[in-house]
């Protein structure tokens, strides 16, 4: 299993789509290699294959549809993800909710195919709920802060504390509005296994520089976590 502490969601930004996705992916790979911090990226379905073929960091889908082999049109199957070289997938992102039973079945199907699953939730409570379905990671993101200027770490640090305390059977990812080294360091120091970012990197004037700072935040957070433990 690959290890990563930063997950960057490319969403549907035009500058993170198609050939732009590939260029941006290579920047992520470069920063991961140079800093030693694990970085995973989540790209549009159309871009999975050509990105996964070209970079060595984990490439995730943003979603798949729980349909199997057969008579479905316009859906993205887990089998297609697997065949593309994707490492795994986000599921139930605030911008792509699926129902609870589909989360259960999707997580099970992904596991059968060897796909890594990160299931998103709005709150510590719903995070605990999805953790009952045994995904590889649970990402808690208060939707009102996603894409905003105030990070979840600043607006309400208790959310991370609660999530880490309540979710005892899966590593916790935290996200929403995270843009700075300090946010990342704070999150990692207080028990987050990884941090989920999107606009903070994708809409940055200099994504490479921003990524380096966030990676530095991971390193500082891990030191803090160690000191915290000692």
């Amino acid at each position: 299993m690959k290890d990563f502490q930063l997950i960057v969601n490319f969403k549907t930004y035009d500058n993170a789509t198609g050939n732009n996705a590939l260029e941006l992916a290579k920047i992520h790979e470069k920063v991961a290699q140079e800093t030693g911090v694990g970085i995973a990226i989540a790209v549009q379905a159309v871009d999975l294959r050509h990105v996964a073929e070209e970079v060595s960091i984990p490439v995730l889908a943003q979603h798949f549809d729980f349909v199997r082999n057969g008579v479905h049109t316009g859906h993205v199957t887990a089998q297609a993800l697997k065949d593309s070289g994707a490492y795994g997938t986000l599921l139930n992102h605030a911008e792509r909710r699926i129902d609870l039973d589909d989360i259960e079945e999707s997580v099970d199907l992904a596991r059968q195919l060897g796909l890594f699953t990160i299931v998103c939730a709005d709150t510590p409570y719903t995070g605990k709920a999805v953790a009952a379905l045994n995904p590889h990671m649970v990402a808690v993101e208060p939707p009102e802060l996603i894409g905003g200027d105030v990070s979840v770490c600043t607006a309400n640090p208790q959310i991370l504390m609660d999530a880490v305390a309540m979710i005892d059977n899966a590593p916790v990812v935290i996200g929403a509005g995270i843009k700075t080294k300090e946010d990342v360091a704070h999150a990692i120091k207080h028990g987050a296994s990884a941090v989920l970012v999107a606009s903070g990197v994708i809409r940055s004037m200099d994504p490479e520089q921003t990524l380096r700072e966030l990676a530095q935040g991971v390193i500082e957070g891990q030191k803090g976590a160690v000191e915290h433990t000692l």
Copy 2:
């Protein structure tokens, strides 16, 4: 504008996904080249790019989500289709309905990007309805016959007649259960501009042979249509 009389929907069949999609696409290209009949294929989003890069026939998406540049996760954008080399897309397939306003906006957006649109409908009436939104083609497929053993041409030939009579501003595609040369010839002879097939080819024991027969149906139907006109 490329011309085609057969549209083959790969759906989410595992044998038409991933590397299988690519192999199958090459068979379609071969039959198109050898018979001179235009064949378009509609593949999963994940497979668009690598298929479109490798074959010269029109490669369609099965759907895209009407979301623009930005904060959407797990969606397939028109921009991603365009960037992948897709020729166009199906929209509103019976297995992936979208609402009427999204059809209107999706058709408009696709046109701006130079993507060809084939909007599906259940009946001649809904076919006429979507034709009001000016897609490139309108495909009428009674959903109760899709994937079945009896073709729309056999079960109810009046559907095609009505669709051709009622839809006067777009070429009409007919589909649902079409599997034989005779079905295709009948449809083309009676005014269909193209025929939409899926399981008839994808689940065939010998897709290449089946495709050749359907292509022969196109040729016979076109002769019939000419005689019909004379």
Copy 3:
């Protein structure tokens, strides 16, 4: 068939729900009786029966689900509407879109049960599209103006002109942001058969007075239309 020129959508406003719905409905009935202008109201499903039992004006549902007798939970059936005494229903409101095939089937089912249907659409084009499915009325409401301060008549009077010109097989209703007598008079004068309002009445400080003014707008619009015709 009952005749009405004003349709007031109670939406889910708390002051138009439950016993409040009943009180408000009686005000509508009073204004209809005193002005001679036909007024229909559209209420929440839960309120249909007790409102329909108590007032003589047409009471509409805001939506029904296209499911039939049987194994569906949490849906509102056409049969339930009929049994409640509802006169008919809105369908496909911008806040409750249904897909095109469901519009077709819902309109057909409503007709079988003797329920009046007003199908909503965003634009003249989608209005023309739904008109192909033969509802009793087509309501065109640009969603970006719904609930806003600028009415469709002020913001873009061409929308009504286009809708009336393009939709030749059903009476046209116009709506979105309509709040004043002048808006209503303008709409009726230029070919609208009725006007669809919501917040303009429901959120008014004095709904009865507002309704009287809108009814006066109908009367003035009808005179204008007559003069226009002479």
Copy 4:
């Protein structure tokens, strides 16, 4: 808080809609009074008020939409339920799934309004997940058995055992295919707080007689549970 051991879902059956719903509700009230077994019924939104006004047993909605006061059309609000006299509601039934965040918010809103919530789930795992959101009851119903001829108690008694073992913070309701006294007795004996039935009663030739038998099953199950405990 009212106590009940049988919950009968009227679904959208025509013979359980409108005036038929009222008649059927009175039969349920009669059996409840005569047997002393608590019976709750879940009716269509349109029927809530007139049924709740006429019977003394708890009347539940089958669903509500998580929208608040305001600009929503065609939705059923919690406020409307409350105003109608409903005791509470089912949520997330297999035939009306809502997403996890809506479950959380709907449960919270219902609690604020004093409405009782029974959240449905497919499996013990998803049952445990929804239990994290603190509804009043959790109902586990394997969807493949709903409406079928084999009850969950017969097909897989382990499901109830697992649900009772895994869900430790809410009473467990069990359902799917339950039609006989023996099924009910078994369920109650093995830890179910209540049993959810639908077609077993509604499609019965003699609903009153069937209800009496199911009520007898509750009584026998409770004795069995007592003996089991001793």
